[in-house]
Symmetry: C2
Subunit: 297 residues, 2 copies
């Protein structure tokens, strides 16, 4: 089947390689001409603990085809919103699967694409070069079943593939997305502001206090998140990813705009709808906005 993957980052390349591994016809849409040429010329190399394998893919910086492909949007939140008019025009009513952190894009995407679907990715992946992705910490792609033929085929074909697509119900995917957002809210802003790895949130006493405060603010303000994500879950993620730099820290170090608007803002808004403030999280969010603003100057 034809798959158009928008985004040449770690998740985009992981999905591209995994789909090509299963024989799908894959086109990757990337921003830089340099990466498009490299991918077309050399293919995408997938590295895991057992093997290095290279798969041939097409790659392009332009949007022009009118085929009946299925789209997978593997862009970060800021990149997605930067491209939203172009994507809307280009994709139209073709089926499209959104894979983003946070929940900010969901309402917009539902309104803009008649055939929009959403997934949450648990896989660990690191892009180590323009054409190389390392698959670390295997996981699942969680999504909701669909009556649409393309989604059905994709989900079936990749149930047993490396991607391990698993269909869950609407409530579950909602819980998964919010759970991930809460965990990201507790971990990412602090690692980015303090420029520390995830594990240091457990060993630096003041950082630990702040992380606990952020978690408490969230579940106090939005009590239906409490059964979805416990304090221990956050500690476990910090432990499991102790030596990782969070995506937000990487963004800050590289001078890129962070995903604060996609991860933190929806949580603050959900609280504000209930007239609740989360002052610690709010302060961290505004500090990140200041960092983002500084990066743009």
């Amino acid at each position: 089947m034809k798959l158009h993957i928008v985004g040449g980052g770690s998740i985009g390349l992981l999905i591209a390689a995994s789909a090509a591994e299963r024989g799908d016809d894959v086109t990757i849409h990337v921003r830089r001409e340099e990466q498009a040429e490299a991918l077309t010329l050399r293919g995408v190399t997938l590295i895991d603990e057992r093997k290095n394998e290279t798969y041939s893919v097409k790659a392009t910086t332009s949007f022009h085809s009118n085929d009946d492909a299925l789209f997978v949007i593997a862009l970060t939140g800021p990149a997605l919103f930067h491209m939203k008019d172009l994507l809307k025009r280009y994709i139209g009513d073709r089926p499209v699967l959104f894979i983003q952190n946070g929940v900010r894009h969901v309402d917009w995407a539902r309104q803009s694409f008649p055939n929009a679907h959403f997934a949450s990715v648990e896989h660990g992946a690191v892009r180590t070069a323009d054409t190389i992705v390392e698959h670390r910490g295997h996981g699942q792609v969680m999504t909701v079943p669909s009556e649409h033929e393309s989604f059905k085929r994709l989900f079936e074909r990749h149930q047993t593939s490396r991607l391990a697509i698993r269909c869950v119900n609407d409530r579950t995917i909602d819980a998964i997305l919010w759970r991930k957002a809460v965990i990201n809210c507790a971990i990412n802003p602090l690692t980015a502001l303090l420029r520390i790895k995830n594990g240091e949130l457990l060993t630096n006493r003041s950082a630990y206090d702040l992380m606990e405060k952020v978690y408490t603010e969230i579940i106090t303000s939005i009590p239906n998140l409490k059964p979805i994500v416990q304090w221990d879950d956050i500690v476990n993620v910090c432990q499991r990813t102790a030596t990782n730099e969070s995506s937000m820290l990487k963004d800050v170090v590289a001078g890129r705009v962070t995903e604060a608007d996609f991860i933190v803002l929806p949580i603050l808004k959900r609280g504000a709808e209930r007239n609740e403030t989360m002052p610690t999280l709010q302060t961290c969010y505004t500090l990140l906005c200041a960092v983002d603003e500084r990066g743009m100057m």
Copy 2:
């Protein structure tokens, strides 16, 4: 007259040079043997817009003399607290003038030294080398009149010197110290956490919002600070010092412990005594503690 200055930073060297300029017999107590040797060998050089002048001083890393000198403590808060037992033992009941940011040291110093006095320095000074200080933005040294003979002589001798010591009443010096603490609370933590110069607090919208929020939290929680420091005062300091890096930013960049405990903590505590919280300032403070903790690891 004999003056022992503890601290070889910008303010210590400025006072040492200014006093030597007036013919005082100056000994500077410094931490590093290297700086002590350089100061003893080459003297201290004072640079201002009109001239470079070098004055000979004594400098030492040890505390041993028993003369009837007057002490000036020109250490940062963290350095002062690091040395507090040594200073108490060495200075005893000899007269001592404390020049620190913030107000955290005042109660301790009053209890520990029968002849303690306090001053606030407005001068701008930058130590550009171990033996060189630049005097920028001339100002005054504000303090409270004293019946003690040594203080009287110091204050009289330096009323018309470069130091421009000016005596004000107790209430005024209190207001001056708290005013400076509020201004520092609004400016320093944000510049340090965001790694920006003072002027960027006015041009970065999110940083500006945070600064305004910190100011509002302080004067709402401690209303008697409102007449002492207005919002315009803070904006004016940012404008006047636009290209400066705050001392806290310099500390963070250099991996030194910041003065957060001396500038921010007393304001938070004063609020807590009135059952008021200042969540934005508190979050910035805890983030700085995390940075300090990280620096110590």
